[in-house]
Amino acid sequence: MKGSLFIISKYIRSHKGRFISLVICISLFITAIITVMWYNDSFKYSENEKYKQKNGAYALIDYYVNEDIVSENKKELTNENAGLLKGYWSLNSDDQNITIGYADENAAGLIPITMRQGRLPQNQDEAAIEKLTYDLLGLKADIGDRVSFEIKDSSGNTITKEFILTGITDNFYRSLREKYNGSQRISIPTILIGDEDIAPLYVHIVAGEDTFLTRNLESESTYSSWADSQQMQTKIRVNNIIFIPLTLFFVITSVVGIFSVSSYFFKDIEKHLRLLRCIGFSKKKAKKMILIYILIFWLLSLIISILISALILFILHWISSYSSRTLLISAGTVPFLCAATASALIITVSFFVQLKKFYKKSPVREEIYTTKKSRKSRTELKKCCHNAYGRKNRIEKITCITMIFLCVGMSVFGSFLPLFNARGTTWADPDLFTDDRDYSLHMTGGGGNSDSFYIQFPSGSGINRKAADKLLSDSSIEVEEASVYNLCHPFFLTSSKTPENRYIEQHFIDAAEKKIDPLFRNKKTSEMIKLAGGNAEKDCIIDLPVRWLSKKCVEKNINITNGSFDMDEFNSGKGIIAPDSLCSVGDVFTMIIPIPDKNATEENIYEHISFECTQIKVTSTYDAVKADMNDLVVSLDYLFSVYPDLNYEELVLKNTDKSNIEKTTEIEDQLEFVLSLSGDDVELYNYSEMAKEFYDDVNAQTFQLILSIFVFVIMIITAVVFSNYIQVRSNIMSYAVMRAIGARVGVIRRLILSEADRILIIGTITGTAAGWGISLFFAYIAWNIKTWDIFLFYVMPVFILTVLLLYIGSHAAVKCAVRSLISESIIERLNTVE
């Protein structure tokens, strides 16, 4: 053992440069495997954390759970990482559904309830309020101030409760509300106090895991995050589709590289082994020595590779922290163990395969009395060297060519793919990436019972108009669309025998074709006919599709084909716009608008409805084909003037001051405010955020890919450079002999470079063909996506830079390796015991 260690230490000390080069080569390959696996893990971890931050970390929510069951299973629920959200008191307010309640630690962590300011309450005298609720209540209190609320107690009496304000939380009500699928109006406590032991009005359970217990609790509605989290997993899987080939590239290249470098290392120590074998070093001792070599070689490579991988990951984290997608580091032990085990295995296999071959040969010299010729001699020096050294370092040369092929190919395809992928996705979903809109509020429900005049219940459905109008008056907001379609369904008087115009005639024809009753009939029909000035025996009521649009909406979206658009006539409700396929300018309709009052319900509608009748005339027509609709377009302003309690159904808005972050935050807070006052079936789409998130995703993917390619390319170039260096050094004795005969250093350098260039050319040509071929193929099959600029401005520079770096690196390595031929005396070099 001592002897082996002595020999090994002598070798390392006398060939420091070569040994370090070999160790670094192996480290680079191990680094490639570890880094790509750690990066993948970090990416998944970052996505998961982002998902949890946005969507909560819960797997399941049980809304309105039976309180007794909760009390019975409280301990088990806590053990199963389930949290309780309890509501104690409602605020004494008609308009608002604000509850004071409690969220335990588990619930607060899973939702999550994060603090904008201050902290969560710890006792019954303290309270923290959600930001939106704070704004809704118009509070001005600071942290530490006392706030008082008027609440209704269990007997229905109003009492005042006072708390110390300990914190303001980020908004969480909306995300919990969106997951509710029950029938009652949902309550979630948005003023949280620190006391758990008060008789609750309701209890919700927020569970971190989907367990048997939580799945089987009685509840009004249960939300499972399975589908949402599957979406996120799909996103990660899609990302993997890009990453898996990359990882494979890294792994295959690394395996080949490690095997090749290990083989080379063994050949280097083979001369020592041969000498040792001559003086009686047994096979057993040789194996032990090899194992020590492997251990030192592998351990050093592993340590260096871990340090480099950690550094790369840290740099990626730091760079990404300046973007909106910080890469959170997740450096697990599994990738490290995989890389460590794989590299140890490959090095060991490589060494022992060669050791086995070594012991089959004679230690002294080969057969000398064979008549079989080795090979045909060449008479040209270049060809001679190519043949001679090509045979000697065949595996290393093939590995080098393969690495250059992968490097160049990847530089082309890897720089093309991320941008092509981003552009392709943008092209596939243009609606998301239009500049025309940033936000939309949209009522998802609609329609109702035909007996109820198609009115939407409960009353007050839709987008709260009062709150919305306040937002719309903001100078930074441009209204792209404001409309009502289902919330108010007007009716029309017509003669049962002779329709007034083509439009009404078409209604009867369509009804006949669909075999449905074209007429609208209920208890109030006669009254409606009378109010509209019709004859109950001759006339009837029909319903026609009407779209109530704001004037700006008309100007933006409706293409007038005939007549003229008179703003005043339109706003007064007298003038309407009709489809040119069915109407002519001058067509007249008698419109009856049903208007329920505030107390109207489905049961008492007939007692709480009135009608507004008006004569409307077609003052202009629009291109029905282009607009892809056949509705009568009537003024929304007119509708609101006759039906003041009606809300908006659709709002599409544009933020004209997007660069102002404060303003944008204010607008988005206001939108949340409007949403909280609107009906439960109103949804808010923040296209800005969606597009931003999409572009963040794409940019993150692009960034990851580009970075991975960059790291890959740099590592391969470094490995190629070191490989060239090692190959030259391995033949340095032969070059010294040439020098002794009289060869100039320049001649030898040119000889070596021509060999290096040959490898470079083969690898570059094949890599270029593969990289460009695959990229052009993708561009061809997606011919409608513009790609010439990607090729010209991204792919070409990266490709040229890669080839240049390979060329410069290889040449530098050769020049560095050949330096000793100049600096040392020829005899010193010749006399160096190898």
């Binding site: 010299r365 080969e366 057969e367 000398i368 064979t370 008549t371 010729k373 080795s374 090979r375 045909k376 001699s377 060449r378 008479t379 040209e380 020096l381 001679c384 001679a388 050294y389 045979r391 000697k392 033949n731 032969s734 002999v737 040439m738 020098r739 002794a740 005969i741 009289g742 060869a743 100039r744 250093v745 320049g746 001649v747 100049i822 005396s825 020829i826 005899i827 010749l830």
Partner: protein, 223 residues
């Protein structure tokens, strides 16, 4: 080519103390002469040969081939001079292991990008009894064969000077005699100046002129 060595000195540094391998040596060698340089191990005889070959640079003094002073030459010119005019045979053969015997022989010609006169090389190989082994790698040749390949390589460029550093050092007695006989034949036939470094007295005695060297200083010059 006449060789004139004047006041040559060479000191090796780098060890514990500097070692003066050659101290103020001067000698004249006529064209076509056959000289043996003898001395004890470490006396400086190989160093003297290396300096004359231009493989090392002297610290002081001059070495002239006819009127050409190689100590004044640049490295590239020295390499060219050595390639065209000097043939060197080493003790440990120093053949390129990846090249065949034939390729090793024609190496000096390939380095000059000269057209290979195959007939001449074949004759040379035949003369050195290598014709059947030309397509073999050095590892498949015996010691004597390898040395003959080295000699053939040294002669490939038709040098005017043949310098041999212990050419028989790794050979048995029979092979040694054969190699020395060969060297003499070549020198006589081709009128090549022959300088052989040897520690073997029996070999040295065969030469017309014996130069002894001891501790870097030229001792006897026996004609």
């Amino acid at each position: 080519m006449d060789i004139t060595v004047n006041g040559l000195s060479k000191t090796y540094t780098g060890g514990a103390a500097p070692v003066m391998a050659i101290k103020n040596c001067s000698l004249k060698i006529k064209s076509g002469e056959q000289i043996a340089v003898t001395g004890a191990s470490g006396s400086g005889k190989s160093t003297l040969l290396h300096l004359i070959a231009g493989l090392e640079r002297a610290d002081s003094g001059s070495i002239k081939y006819d009127n050409t002073d190689i100590t004044e030459m640049s490295q590239n010119k020295l390499d060219d001079f050595r390639l065209k005019n000097i043939g060197i045979v080493f003790q440990s053969f120093n053949l390129l292991p990846e090249f065949t015997a034939y390729e090793n022989i024609i190496l000096p010609l390939m380095l000059q990008s000269k057209k290979i006169d195959k007939t001449r090389i074949d004759k040379l190989a035949e003369y050195l009894d290598l014709d059947s082994r030309c397509e073999h790698l050095p590892s498949k040749l015996s010691g004597g064969q390898q040395q003959r390949v080295a000699i053939a390589r040294a002669l490939a460029n038709e040098p005017t000077v043949l310098l041999c550093d212990e050419p028989t050092g790794n050979l048995d007695k029979k092979s040694s005699k054969a190699v020395i006989d060969l060297l003499f034949n070549i020198s006589n036939k081709l009128n090549v100046t022959l300088i052989v470094v040897t520690h073997d007295e029996s070999i040295a005695k065969r030469f017309d002129r014996i130069i002894t060297i001891s501790d870097g200083v030229l001792g006897g010059d026996i004609q």
